[in-house]
Protein backbone atom coordinates (compact mmCIF):
# COMPACT_ATOMS: atom_id res chain seq x y z
CA UNK A 1 0.00 0.00 0.00
CA UNK A 2 1.41 3.41 -0.89
CA UNK A 3 -0.87 5.47 1.31
CA UNK A 4 -1.89 5.87 4.90
CA UNK A 5 -4.99 3.92 5.86
CA UNK A 6 -7.75 6.24 6.98
CA UNK A 7 -11.27 4.87 7.37
CA UNK A 8 -11.49 1.96 4.93
CA UNK A 9 -9.32 3.27 2.10
CA UNK A 10 -6.02 5.17 1.88
CA UNK A 11 -6.94 8.83 1.37
CA UNK A 12 -3.68 10.52 2.31
CA UNK A 13 -0.27 9.50 0.97
CA UNK A 14 2.84 8.87 3.02
CA UNK A 15 4.26 12.00 1.39
CA UNK A 16 1.44 14.13 2.80
CA UNK A 17 1.76 12.52 6.23
CA UNK A 18 5.54 13.09 6.16
CA UNK A 19 4.99 16.75 5.27
CA UNK A 20 2.50 17.15 8.11
CA UNK A 21 4.54 15.33 10.77
CA UNK A 22 7.96 16.53 9.56
CA UNK A 23 6.70 20.08 9.21
CA UNK A 24 5.22 20.14 12.70
CA UNK A 25 8.35 18.62 14.25
CA UNK A 26 10.51 21.07 12.29
CA UNK A 27 8.48 24.05 13.54
CA UNK A 28 8.73 22.80 17.14
CA UNK A 29 12.50 22.26 16.85
CA UNK A 30 13.12 25.68 15.32
CA UNK A 31 10.91 27.40 17.91
CA UNK A 32 12.59 25.49 20.75
CA UNK A 33 16.10 26.42 19.53
CA UNK A 34 15.07 30.05 19.28
CA UNK A 35 13.22 30.03 22.59
CA UNK A 36 16.18 28.49 24.42
CA UNK A 37 18.55 30.91 22.67
CA UNK A 38 20.76 28.00 21.57
CA UNK A 39 23.78 29.55 19.87
CA UNK A 40 22.85 33.05 20.95
CA UNK A 41 21.39 35.85 18.86
CA UNK A 42 23.31 35.07 15.63
CA UNK A 43 21.76 31.58 15.54
CA UNK A 44 18.31 32.96 16.35
CA UNK A 45 18.68 35.50 13.57
CA UNK A 46 19.81 32.81 11.12
CA UNK A 47 16.91 30.53 12.08
CA UNK A 48 14.48 33.43 11.78
CA UNK A 49 15.70 34.02 8.21
CA UNK A 50 16.40 30.48 7.05
CA UNK A 51 13.46 28.66 8.67
CA UNK A 52 10.62 30.39 6.78
CA UNK A 53 12.71 30.35 3.59
CA UNK A 54 13.31 26.59 3.84
CA UNK A 55 9.61 25.75 4.29
CA UNK A 56 8.68 28.17 1.50
CA UNK A 57 11.08 26.33 -0.82
CA UNK A 58 9.42 23.04 0.16
CA UNK A 59 5.94 24.53 -0.46
CA UNK A 60 6.97 25.87 -3.89
CA UNK A 61 8.55 22.53 -4.85
CA UNK A 62 5.56 20.44 -3.72
CA UNK A 63 3.11 22.80 -5.42
CA UNK A 64 4.99 22.78 -8.73
CA UNK A 65 5.33 19.00 -8.55
CA UNK A 66 1.56 18.77 -8.07
CA UNK A 67 0.96 21.14 -10.99
CA UNK A 68 3.20 19.15 -13.32
CA UNK A 69 1.47 15.94 -12.24
CA UNK A 70 -1.71 17.08 -14.01
CA UNK A 71 -2.02 16.64 -17.74
CA UNK A 72 -1.37 19.53 -20.12
CA UNK A 73 -4.48 21.61 -20.70
CA UNK A 74 -6.10 20.57 -17.44
CA UNK A 75 -7.64 23.33 -15.41
CA UNK A 76 -5.99 22.10 -12.19
CA UNK A 77 -2.57 22.23 -13.84
CA UNK A 78 -3.08 25.92 -14.65
CA UNK A 79 -4.32 26.76 -11.15
CA UNK A 80 -1.54 24.96 -9.28
CA UNK A 81 1.12 26.22 -11.73
CA UNK A 82 0.18 29.84 -11.05
CA UNK A 83 0.19 29.20 -7.30
CA UNK A 84 3.50 27.35 -7.49
CA UNK A 85 5.11 30.11 -9.54
CA UNK A 86 3.73 32.61 -7.04
CA UNK A 87 5.40 30.73 -4.20
CA UNK A 88 8.61 30.52 -6.26
CA UNK A 89 8.52 34.30 -6.69
CA UNK A 90 8.08 34.66 -2.92
CA UNK A 91 11.11 32.38 -2.44
CA UNK A 92 13.04 34.63 -4.84
CA UNK A 93 11.91 37.65 -2.84
CA UNK A 94 13.12 36.15 0.41
CA UNK A 95 16.45 35.08 -1.11
CA UNK A 96 17.00 38.50 -2.65
CA UNK A 97 16.15 40.10 0.68
CA UNK A 98 18.53 37.75 2.51
CA UNK A 99 21.45 38.48 0.18
CA UNK A 100 20.70 42.20 0.08
CA UNK A 101 20.73 42.17 3.87
CA UNK A 102 24.00 40.22 3.96
CA UNK A 103 25.64 42.49 1.38
CA UNK A 104 24.33 45.84 2.55
CA UNK A 105 23.93 45.13 6.24
CA UNK A 106 20.30 46.15 6.05
CA UNK A 107 17.37 45.31 3.80
CA UNK A 108 17.24 47.64 0.83
CA UNK A 109 13.64 48.55 0.18
CA UNK A 110 11.94 48.88 -2.19
CA UNK A 111 13.93 46.81 -4.63
CA UNK A 112 14.13 43.40 -6.27
CA UNK A 113 12.87 41.56 -3.16
CA UNK A 114 9.70 43.65 -3.14
CA UNK A 115 9.18 43.31 -6.89
CA UNK A 116 9.40 39.53 -6.55
CA UNK A 117 7.08 39.49 -3.55
CA UNK A 118 4.46 41.59 -5.36
CA UNK A 119 4.75 39.26 -8.38
CA UNK A 120 4.26 36.34 -6.00
CA UNK A 121 1.09 37.85 -4.56
CA UNK A 122 -0.32 38.55 -8.03
CA UNK A 123 0.32 34.97 -9.22
CA UNK A 124 -1.02 33.48 -5.97
CA UNK A 125 -4.14 35.63 -6.14
CA UNK A 126 -4.75 34.74 -9.81
CA UNK A 127 -4.34 31.00 -9.15
CA UNK A 128 -6.72 31.05 -6.19
CA UNK A 129 -9.33 33.07 -8.13
CA UNK A 130 -9.08 30.69 -11.10
CA UNK A 131 -9.63 27.77 -8.73
CA UNK A 132 -12.68 29.42 -7.14
CA UNK A 133 -14.25 30.39 -10.48
CA UNK A 134 -13.72 26.87 -11.85
CA UNK A 135 -16.77 25.88 -9.76
CA UNK A 136 -19.05 28.40 -11.47
CA UNK A 137 -20.99 25.77 -13.47
CA UNK A 138 -21.74 23.84 -10.29
CA UNK A 139 -22.14 26.49 -7.62
CA UNK A 140 -23.56 30.01 -7.70
CA UNK A 141 -20.35 31.94 -7.00
CA UNK A 142 -22.02 35.32 -6.51
CA UNK A 143 -22.82 34.90 -2.81
CA UNK A 144 -19.35 33.52 -1.88
CA UNK A 145 -17.76 36.34 -3.91
CA UNK A 146 -19.85 39.00 -2.16
CA UNK A 147 -19.31 37.51 1.31
CA UNK A 148 -15.55 37.17 0.84
CA UNK A 149 -15.29 40.71 -0.55
CA UNK A 150 -17.28 42.21 2.34
CA UNK A 151 -15.36 40.22 4.99
CA UNK A 152 -11.92 40.87 3.45
CA UNK A 153 -12.47 44.56 2.86
CA UNK A 154 -13.93 44.77 6.38
CA UNK A 155 -10.80 43.12 7.79
CA UNK A 156 -8.66 45.40 5.61
CA UNK A 157 -10.42 48.49 6.97
CA UNK A 158 -10.14 47.27 10.56
CA UNK A 159 -6.44 46.39 10.09
CA UNK A 160 -5.76 49.76 8.51
CA UNK A 161 -7.58 51.98 11.00
CA UNK A 162 -6.96 50.01 14.20
CA UNK A 163 -3.39 48.82 13.59
CA UNK A 164 -1.63 50.33 10.58
CA UNK A 165 -2.81 53.92 10.85
CA UNK A 166 -2.10 54.42 14.58
CA UNK A 167 0.98 52.22 14.93
CA UNK A 168 2.70 52.27 11.52
CA UNK A 169 1.68 55.54 9.87
CA UNK A 170 1.29 57.79 12.92
CA UNK A 171 3.56 55.76 15.19
CA UNK A 172 6.74 57.21 13.77
CA UNK A 173 8.78 54.03 14.23
CA UNK A 174 9.29 53.68 10.49
CA UNK A 175 9.75 56.25 7.78
CA UNK A 176 9.64 56.57 4.01
CA UNK A 177 9.52 53.46 1.89
CA UNK A 178 9.94 51.18 4.91
CA UNK A 179 6.70 52.63 6.32
CA UNK A 180 4.92 52.34 2.96
CA UNK A 181 5.94 48.69 2.69
CA UNK A 182 4.89 48.02 6.29
CA UNK A 183 1.42 49.25 5.29
CA UNK A 184 1.44 47.55 1.89
CA UNK A 185 2.26 43.97 2.92
CA UNK A 186 -0.53 43.42 5.48
CA UNK A 187 -3.06 44.97 3.08
CA UNK A 188 -1.69 42.86 0.20
CA UNK A 189 -2.07 39.81 2.44
CA UNK A 190 -5.68 40.65 3.21
CA UNK A 191 -6.83 41.83 -0.22
CA UNK A 192 -4.48 39.93 -2.51
CA UNK A 193 -4.25 36.59 -0.74
CA UNK A 194 -6.79 36.28 2.08
CA UNK A 195 -9.72 37.57 -0.03
CA UNK A 196 -9.32 35.01 -2.84
CA UNK A 197 -8.49 32.29 -0.30
CA UNK A 198 -11.69 33.08 1.61
CA UNK A 199 -13.69 33.16 -1.63
CA UNK A 200 -12.29 29.76 -2.57
CA UNK A 201 -12.94 28.37 0.92
CA UNK A 202 -16.59 29.44 0.86
CA UNK A 203 -17.00 27.96 -2.63
CA UNK A 204 -15.46 24.60 -1.72
CA UNK A 205 -17.37 24.49 1.58
CA UNK A 206 -20.38 23.68 -0.65
CA UNK A 207 -18.70 20.33 -1.23
CA UNK A 208 -19.49 19.50 2.41
CA UNK A 209 -16.17 17.80 3.07
CA UNK A 210 -15.92 16.21 -0.39
CA UNK A 211 -12.38 15.13 -1.16
CA UNK A 212 -11.85 17.73 -3.89
CA UNK A 213 -12.21 20.47 -1.26
CA UNK A 214 -9.44 19.21 1.06
CA UNK A 215 -6.45 20.66 -0.86
CA UNK A 216 -7.98 24.12 -1.03
CA UNK A 217 -9.00 24.21 2.63
CA UNK A 218 -5.47 23.31 3.76
CA UNK A 219 -3.99 25.87 1.37
CA UNK A 220 -6.40 28.60 2.53
CA UNK A 221 -5.42 27.95 6.16
CA UNK A 222 -1.81 28.54 5.13
CA UNK A 223 -2.72 31.85 3.52
CA UNK A 224 -4.56 32.84 6.71
CA UNK A 225 -1.49 32.04 8.85
CA UNK A 226 0.67 34.11 6.50
CA UNK A 227 -1.71 37.08 6.69
CA UNK A 228 -1.88 37.05 10.49
CA UNK A 229 1.91 36.88 10.85
CA UNK A 230 2.58 39.61 8.27
CA UNK A 231 0.11 41.96 9.91
CA UNK A 232 1.50 41.30 13.38
CA UNK A 233 5.03 41.82 12.04
CA UNK A 234 4.18 45.20 10.53
CA UNK A 235 2.52 46.43 13.70
CA UNK A 236 5.23 45.17 16.06
CA UNK A 237 8.05 46.47 13.83
CA UNK A 238 6.54 49.93 13.76
CA UNK A 239 6.27 49.90 17.55
CA UNK A 240 9.88 48.61 17.72
CA UNK A 241 8.66 45.52 19.55
CA UNK A 242 9.66 42.94 16.96
CA UNK A 243 12.85 40.91 17.51
CA UNK A 244 14.03 37.79 15.65
CA UNK A 245 12.52 34.78 17.37
CA UNK A 246 9.20 36.46 18.13
CA UNK A 247 6.28 33.96 18.35
CA UNK A 248 4.64 35.58 15.31
CA UNK A 249 7.29 33.83 13.20
CA UNK A 250 5.50 30.55 13.89
CA UNK A 251 2.93 31.67 11.32
CA UNK A 252 5.66 32.12 8.70
CA UNK A 253 6.77 28.53 9.36
CA UNK A 254 3.30 27.01 9.49
CA UNK A 255 1.86 28.81 6.45
CA UNK A 256 4.08 27.19 3.79
CA UNK A 257 3.70 23.80 5.50
CA UNK A 258 -0.10 24.04 5.27
CA UNK A 259 0.21 25.15 1.64
CA UNK A 260 2.50 22.20 0.86
CA UNK A 261 0.06 19.81 2.57
CA UNK A 262 -2.77 21.24 0.45
CA UNK A 263 -0.79 20.77 -2.76
CA UNK A 264 0.23 17.27 -1.74
CA UNK A 265 -3.38 16.29 -1.01
CA UNK A 266 -4.30 17.51 -4.50
CA UNK A 267 -1.88 14.88 -5.84
CA UNK A 268 -3.27 12.27 -3.43
CA UNK A 269 -6.75 12.65 -4.93
CA UNK A 270 -5.29 11.46 -8.25
CA UNK A 271 -2.80 8.94 -6.90
CA UNK A 272 -5.13 7.28 -4.39
CA UNK A 273 -8.52 6.94 -6.13
CA UNK A 274 -11.46 5.65 -4.14
CA UNK A 275 -12.93 2.22 -4.82
CA UNK A 276 -9.81 0.75 -6.39
Amino acid sequence: MNGVQLLSEPLVSRRTMALAVGGLVGVLVVRALMGLQVGGEPTSRLLAEAGPLAVLVVAAAVTLRTALGFERGESLRRQWSLIGLGLLALVGGELASFFAGAALGASAAPGLPDALRVTGYVLLCTGLLLAAFSYRDLIDARVPLAVSAVVSYGIGIVVYFSLLEPYVIAGGGLTGTARALAVFYPLADVLGALAPALFLTIVVSRLYGGRLSWPWIAFALGVLALGVSDTAHSVLSSADLYRPGHPLETGWLLAPILMAIGASIASDVVELPLGE
Binding site: S134, Y135, L138, L207, G210, L212, L274, E276
Partner: protein, 71 residues
Protein backbone atom coordinates in the same frame (compact mmCIF):
# COMPACT_ATOMS: atom_id res chain seq x y z
CA UNK B 1 -31.89 3.03 -8.38
CA UNK B 2 -29.27 4.40 -10.81
CA UNK B 3 -29.59 8.03 -9.68
CA UNK B 4 -28.82 7.09 -6.08
CA UNK B 5 -25.92 4.85 -7.09
CA UNK B 6 -24.38 7.72 -9.08
CA UNK B 7 -24.86 10.09 -6.16
CA UNK B 8 -23.15 7.54 -3.89
CA UNK B 9 -20.12 7.37 -6.21
CA UNK B 10 -19.84 11.16 -6.56
CA UNK B 11 -20.57 12.02 -2.92
CA UNK B 12 -17.09 11.29 -1.43
CA UNK B 13 -15.47 13.55 -4.01
CA UNK B 14 -17.88 16.46 -4.40
CA UNK B 15 -20.41 16.19 -1.56
CA UNK B 16 -24.16 15.69 -1.77
CA UNK B 17 -25.20 18.93 -3.47
CA UNK B 18 -22.87 18.77 -6.47
CA UNK B 19 -23.50 15.03 -6.77
CA UNK B 20 -27.22 15.78 -7.01
CA UNK B 21 -26.55 18.62 -9.49
CA UNK B 22 -24.75 16.20 -11.83
CA UNK B 23 -27.61 13.71 -11.67
CA UNK B 24 -30.35 16.32 -12.10
CA UNK B 25 -28.53 17.97 -15.03
CA UNK B 26 -28.43 14.62 -16.78
CA UNK B 27 -32.07 13.85 -16.05
CA UNK B 28 -33.10 17.25 -17.42
CA UNK B 29 -31.01 16.79 -20.56
CA UNK B 30 -32.76 13.50 -21.43
CA UNK B 31 -36.23 14.73 -20.41
CA UNK B 32 -36.59 12.44 -17.41
CA UNK B 33 -36.78 12.75 -13.64
CA UNK B 34 -33.85 11.53 -11.57
CA UNK B 35 -35.82 8.44 -10.58
CA UNK B 36 -36.50 7.58 -14.23
CA UNK B 37 -32.82 7.41 -15.20
CA UNK B 38 -31.84 3.89 -16.27
CA UNK B 39 -28.64 2.11 -17.42
CA UNK B 40 -29.31 3.30 -20.98
CA UNK B 41 -28.63 6.85 -19.77
CA UNK B 42 -25.14 6.05 -18.50
CA UNK B 43 -23.37 7.45 -21.63
CA UNK B 44 -25.18 10.78 -21.18
CA UNK B 45 -24.48 10.69 -17.44
CA UNK B 46 -20.79 10.04 -18.09
CA UNK B 47 -20.58 12.87 -20.62
CA UNK B 48 -22.25 15.29 -18.21
CA UNK B 49 -19.99 14.27 -15.34
CA UNK B 50 -16.90 14.73 -17.54
CA UNK B 51 -18.12 18.18 -18.62
CA UNK B 52 -19.14 19.38 -15.15
CA UNK B 53 -16.13 18.04 -13.24
CA UNK B 54 -13.36 18.81 -15.76
CA UNK B 55 -12.66 22.32 -14.36
CA UNK B 56 -12.32 21.03 -10.77
CA UNK B 57 -10.93 17.49 -11.01
CA UNK B 58 -8.16 15.76 -12.92
CA UNK B 59 -8.87 13.47 -15.87
CA UNK B 60 -7.79 10.29 -14.03
CA UNK B 61 -10.09 11.15 -11.13
CA UNK B 62 -13.02 11.78 -13.47
CA UNK B 63 -12.35 8.55 -15.37
CA UNK B 64 -12.24 6.64 -12.07
CA UNK B 65 -15.65 8.05 -11.18
CA UNK B 66 -17.07 7.32 -14.63
CA UNK B 67 -15.67 3.78 -14.58
CA UNK B 68 -17.32 3.09 -11.21
CA UNK B 69 -20.64 4.42 -12.49
CA UNK B 70 -20.42 2.35 -15.68
CA UNK B 71 -19.59 -0.76 -13.66
Amino acid sequence: MLAQEVRDVLHPYVGPIIADTCVRATALSVGKTCEQLDPGDIPVLSANIRRLLSPIASRPTIETIVARISA
